[in-house]
Amino acid sequence: MKLILSYLKRHLVIFCISTAFLTLEAVADLLQPTYMSYIVDDGVANMDVKQILIYGGIMLGIALFGAFCAIMRNHFASRTSQTIGKEIRHDIYHNVQQLSLENIDRLQPASIITRITNDVTQIQDFINSIMRIMIKAPITGIGAVVLIIIQTPKQAPIMIVIILVATLLIILNILVGYPRFGKVQKKLDKLNGVSREFLSSVRVVKAFRAEDKETGKFRNASDDLAAANTSALRAMAMFAPLINLTVNFGIVLLLFISQDQDAADIGRLMASVNYMGQVMFALAFISNVINSAVRALASSDRIKEVLDEKPVQHRAENPQRPEIKGRISFNDVSFAYAGSSRNALSHISFSAEPGETIGIIGPTGSGKTSLVNLIPRFYDTSEGEIKVDGVNVNEIDEEYLRSKVALVAQKALLFTGSIMENLSWGLENRNKTTAKDGESNVYSDDEKARIYNAVKIACADEFIGKTKDGYNTLLGQGGVNLSGGQKQRLSLARALIKEPNILILDDCTSALDANTESSVLKGLSEMDTKATVLLISQRISTVMRADKILCLSNGTIQGFGTHTELLEKCGTYREIYESQIGQLPA
């Protein structure tokens, strides 16, 4: 709630004006029956046509005034709720961008996305309805009660009883309802779990003829959900009609105690009956208000969690921008992922000279990816230090460091837009201009040369040429219309365009067939600008021609040296070699 309030505070003036209009609107509604009672008591009773018309005129004035207020608050409410929605979305997005990957891992991307979309909408709707109706309902309710008591003072004690009973019912409703609906939610999650499992394993289910087993699981989950829902809905069936009944009994009692009412006051009695209707309407709404508030509260907690998240990595106080040639040295580096007690890397020390190619090989889970992720500071070391050209990476300006290091991950991520737009991410100076103006399609000859050259090295020119629109081919979200191998080649080209001083290839040719892969590797080795290359692969044939090879297992270095050296000295390396290529001659 604090979160919602803090955003409302930014629009406090408008909110207050809007609420004032809303109040006036409610008052206008409330005054109608009162003037009606004057028509009856003063006009009709005295057979005074003029009085009737005068009061009618006043009522018309009030109605029009009410409409004016309503239109005003409609403007303010729409503007405020949507603006706040925009602000929250911006703040979340902004904050998420600043977070370290460790934070993102913990929050999970899918969950962040739901928060920034669904949860924000939830809050936006809540603010909108507060400013439209939620404040109006209680004002109308209270106003109606007050007016009933003024019109028919004898009704006062009954009104108090009605309100007490209704409050009790609403509280009971919540107490009975929420636990039951909580249970419904759990059963729903269960059902979703079963269907998700089925869908993602459908081949196996079919191959093992287990359709009936899965049907049984689904039937159980579905039956459970239906039972939970029925029980919850049945419990709720009680309350809304009971609240109605309470107010209706109030009307009966009102009429009962007004039996010996002065005939001259009959209009007042009519007004009170009318007001009872408004009380009922307000009460029905109050449970709705509570319900929305609870949901908005849950959403605001989820949003707050993201907004309160602070990046775990610290920015350097005096960020340096040393000239980077590509010397990398690891000095007794250990690293563990947050929340894991096991070290992903332990006591890693090695160094790479500018222009060298270092192959990294080792079993899955041996820490290859963790190791290279430390260099552009996607994560920070737990112990030890990593230096690039003699400077600790923690001291280097983050943006500068990342502009010099290119990391191509195994899973190629591309973005909606044309192939050209995706590739142009590698053009650092272009970044600034594209964001500002629409000249994103104009590239200088130099830039074009860089792009075409990189595309050629990545062996992507052939398939780009085959697409209908060439470089202007539009990619769907995540590059859905490309094959895995095509995506990998594009993402490699994108990194090469950066002309990085340090190039990290994290098994990024895994989806390529052996021939394409070897031509990619050949192209890389023949590049003009010599970057330091860290080359991760599962295939020994990929790494064996590297200047040096780092053999990892279980987060520790098993061996570091040339292919021949490792074959001689490193048992793990030898084992990998034999498993892939065959027995060495003894």
Binding site: D29, G66, R89, H90, I116, I174, L199, K206, L233
Partner: protein, 613 residues
Amino acid sequence: MCKHACSMIRDMADNRTTATPPQNLSGISRPGRGMQVVKPKNLKGTLLRLWNLTAGKRKGLGWVLLLSAFSSAAAIVSPRLTGSIITRISNRDTITLLLILLAGLYICDWFVKFMQQFLMAAIGQRIINHIRQALFGKIKGLPLRFFDKHQHGELMSRLTNDVDNISTTISSSITLLMTYSFTIIGIFTMMIILSPVLTMITLCSVGMIFVLTKVVTRHTRKLFKEQQKYLGVLNGQIEEGISGLTVVKAFGREKEMEADFDKKNENLCKTSIRALIWSGYLMPLMNVINNICYLTIAVTSGLLYINGKLSDIGLISTFLLYSRQFTRPFVEIANVYNNLQTAVAGAERVFEIMDEEPEPEDRADAAELENPKGEVEFKNVSFGYDEGKTILKDISLKIPAGKKVAIVGPTGSGKTTIINLLTRFYDVNNGSIYLDGKDLRDYRMGDLRKVFGVVLQDTALFAESVRENISYGNEGASLEKIKEAAASAGADAFIERLPNGYDTVLEQGGMELSQGERQLLTIARAVLSNAPIMILDEATSSVDTVTEQKIRKAMLKICENRTSFIIAHRLSTIRDSDIIILIEDGRIAEKGSHAELIELNGKYAEMYRTQVG
């Protein structure tokens, strides 16, 4: 009048009028506000189909409908009764009898409404459960082609959201529509009888609301469409930006992404404000029309009473109450209609699945398949997943029983497709596949799939115990057999290290295990199936080479004396197969043993050399 009322309701529905008092507190099952109303393609047809689908599950619905008729009684009768009481009070008559009547009416109203909801809860859930299970029953029998085309998230949303929407909305819609129609007809009849003049005033206000709605709708329809578009664009950007944050950071594109985001955010905000303001006009303007109607009735009835055209003073009160109650059902029905449209559109999505072609049924003369030898033959087989795009072209191939076959070739050449055809995940377009000399399609599907033990690329495990995972599809297997299978797959060592050994429940569906461990479990599963033909599709692609060694050993063991198909990227895995088939561009390019192919010195030999160096 009826026609106009209908189109008015449709217009009102388009404006998504909010401000309805809740039917219940749940909120969980109601469609979210701000959701766009999706228009159904065929409202009547779909409703009729739903009606037929729920045959036999509707017990008690008649009662609910009857109760709905009664539940409008209070709205129709009580204003008249209240008016009479007021007349009697002003005439100083006794009102005890009428008060008792009124109290009785209210109690009945309470009971009827309670029963209505109470009964509907069970009926609605019974119907929803039925539809959900029918849908799942349908889905499970669909061919793989279907699952290729549909995203999991989308299917799940049909199983839960759509089905849920259908049932809650339709069950509540039926009762509400009944209640409101009765209310409108009832009040209208009462008013006409009591005072035609005052009735005209009320009808005028309904007409004004109709015109107003038309005007507002003309503006909002376009605005909401625009809003939905911008929302989609923004959500797409959010999804990309956040799931691709690593890349964004790696390329230092944070500022650009944020600027882009802000632009899209601003666009959405602007259109949303306009859409909301326009649609927001409706409620207050409707309110002012109601108020004007109210005051006109107050004035007119006063004047009528003075001129002696109105029999008793209580009628003033009666009409004032009616005027408040007459327009509301129209607004409510607009809401109901709105929800109904969304629900029916959901139902159409459900029926889309119901109408999918299921896996072909067994032929009438389908043969039983017992103790197959495992001789496989492909004869001129052609196949493509999509029309006009052939993946396999005229494949002919004969594999004697008990031989180990390896399939190699570049990505996308059609290796997995061969397996998909063999297991009849898909059926051939042209040509035939024979097992022991008989076309696959002449066997019963159930028998046929039992012939194959498969280990697939995706290591599907279930959130059950390790033991249940291994015995998946072989539910009766003894623990002893399971352990044996695990041992021959080389999975026993790590299973025994798990906290509860074979009874350890894989809460996260296997994600708590390493890729290699998952793969070993699926191999154990295939071992246990003891099928005559083994299929191993890239079973070792994503594990390290040491684990691969282990898996390869396990594979060799289970392939002994069986026809087996192995697909692998790494040629080292398949060197000792009896027959190696090189697929290129959907055709068999080379065929023979390792030694033969090396000697041939073609593509295979070249691939082997590049991999081995």
